[in-house]
């Protein structure tokens, strides 16, 4: 295992891995038993150093993931179609999975706010539901009859990242309700909520 990989691994453990490192490690973990062992060992060492038992650390997610991958029917053609390998924890290149976003409109996927306050306008695809861009998530017009069902074609990584971002927005207020009673900052956790709802 290269030093670079070792470094990436430790960055990953410390929550500091950048996109590139994350991809590298996860991709490598798929078929590198030594790397998986190192991961487990790193965790164990660190927890021992921190004065805990290492008992609960033999969680090897990757094994489970590999099983999941083996069970899922991958369509390798997509990988070739995209022309670049993409890594995600569940490296899945299967058919389109449609995610229902709880009625939330998927907007501003590709919007980068510029510092002068001109919010980039999200391009709303005019494709019908289900026809989606395989390179990531696409905003789909929000109303079809009475239902708002944006659909995602996960080039899994991009889509899940977007899901995580949306979930943070969606759940932060409910989380803050409990954080506000269980941390020493009083009501301050509410300042982490993007938009407070009544």
């Amino acid at each position: 295992m290269s030093d670079k990989m070792r470094e990436s691994l430790s960055a990953l453990m410390d929550d500091e891995a950048n996109e590139l490192e994350l991809q590298r490690v996860l991709k490598q973990m798929e078929n590198d038993g030594e790397l998986r062992q190192t991961w487990v060992r790193y965790n164990a060492t660190r927890s021992v150093m921190a004065g805990q038992g290492a008992g609960n650390l033999n969680i090897d997610i990757s094994a489970r993931v590999r099983t999941a991958i083996a069970e899922s029917e991958a369509a390798p053609s997509l990988r070739q179609r995209i022309g670049r390998p993409f890594a995600s924890f569940a490296v899945a290149a299967s058919v389109a999975a449609t995610v229902v976003l709880g009625g939330q409109q998927l907007a501003q996927i590709s919007s980068a706010d510029d510092p002068y306050g001109n919010k980039a306008v999200a391009t709303v695809g005019s494709s019908p539901v289900g026809l989606v861009n395989t390179m990531g998530a696409t905003a789909v017009q929000a109303s079809y009859g009475t239902q708002a069902v944006p659909s995602l074609q996960p080039a899994a990584k991009t889509a899940y990242k977007e899901l995580a971002r949306q979930r943070m927005e969606m759940y932060m207020q409910e989380h803050a309700e409990h954080a506000a009673l269980n941390t020493p900052q009083g009501l301050m956790p509410f300042v982490r909520v993007e938009e407070i709802r009544e």
Partner: protein
């Protein structure tokens, strides 16, 4: 200690100093002075009336500024937070009984048989800076494992009120900061401000501190929690949200049932000290989306999500 103004808090605290807490055997290297300060902090947060302006900063975002007030009236307190920037929303908690102690605050208090936060954090006390014009004492709170962040807290030397908190990530990186810009003690609440929206904070039933009310009804269960984390409130095992605290950090686990298949995968979003980790999995054959939202490292969120099981 002698520098303390002899308010009834000091009296309370001195009285408490006599209370034995868990033996040194169970709680290694506990710094008694720091533990007493945290205890005092958690009490003053409830029993002292104050109002002031607090700033909040994280990452490269704009500073947020809020006005907060806490007024004690008889056996209850009222909290108000009004945003002076951004949305201009207001959050209010009225009539919170002073004797209603939630699990997170319990962990900050000197108990009979618990180490509280000292079990999972190394505490040290030093002289603090001036914050909001008041002399402070600095409590450095370093995590004993990699499952949580560290904190540097500055408390009012007189009242124990928390004036400033910095959340510290790996490599001593400051992830976010709360800090009073000004502060007054007493009940004269500040005059009305323009608020766009007013939200009444919820008051969930605190979980029994002794055990997790693990009702044996069918539902999902988080099988692994970092040491020292306990449920914040009593919810049924089928509840779509479960929240856990170690006294300083809090995270919530959310479960959504999906009405169609989702390809397995995971994603992370981070902001300041907040992490949102989402994973699509099958639970008991059903497609679900698990999300952990809270002020913990990604690795912690992932391990918690990985431990979720369905129990019949």
């Amino acid at each position: 200690m002698s520098a303390l103004r002899f308010s009834h808090f000091a009296a309370l605290m001195l009285a408490l100093a006599a209370v034995p807490w868990a033996s040194a055997q169970e709680c290694p290297e506990v710094n008694p002075e720091a533990v007493k300060w945290l205890d005092k902090m958690s009490r003053s947060l409830q029993h002292v009336s104050y109002h002031g302006v607090v700033t909040f900063q994280r990452g490269g975002e704009d500073m947020q500024v809020v006005q907060v007030s806490h007024s004690v009236d008889g056996g209850t307190s009222t909290d108000r937070l009004t945003q002076l920037t951004g949305q201009g929303a207001e959050v209010v908690r009225k009539d919170h009984p002073l004797d209603c102690i939630h699990p997170g605050h319990n962990l900050l208090r000197l108990g009979q048989n618990q180490c509280g936060v000292a079990a999972n954090y190394r505490l040290s006390v030093s002289e603090g800076d001036l914050v909001a014009g008041r002399h402070s004492v600095r409590i450095a709170v370093a995590p004993r494992d990699m499952y949580r962040y560290g904190y540097v807290m500055e408390l009012d030397r007189d009242t124990g009120l928390l004036l400033k908190t910095a959340t510290i990530g790996r490599g001593n990186k400051v992830l976010e900061k709360f800090q009073f810009a000004n502060l007054s003690y007493g009940d004269d609440s500040p005059e009305g401000l323009d608020t766009a929206i007013s939200h009444s904070a919820h008051h969930p039933v605190p979980a029994a501190s002794s055990t997790n009310a693990a009702a044996k009804s069918p539902g999902w269960r988080v099988r692994w929690l970092p040491p020292g984390f306990a449920a914040t409130d009593a919810v049924s095992s089928a509840s779509p949200r479960k929240t856990y605290t170690d006294g300083l950090a809090v995270f919530s686990v959310f479960l959504e049932k999906l009405d169609r298949e989702i390809r397995p995968g995971e994603g992370v979003a981070r902001k300041g000290s907040s992490t949102s980790y989402t994973r699509g999995v099958k639970l008991a054959g059903e497609p679900v989306l698990l999300t952990v939202v809270g002020e913990v490292p990604v690795n912690t969120a992932r391990m918690v999500a990985d431990s979720v099981v369905w129990e019949r």
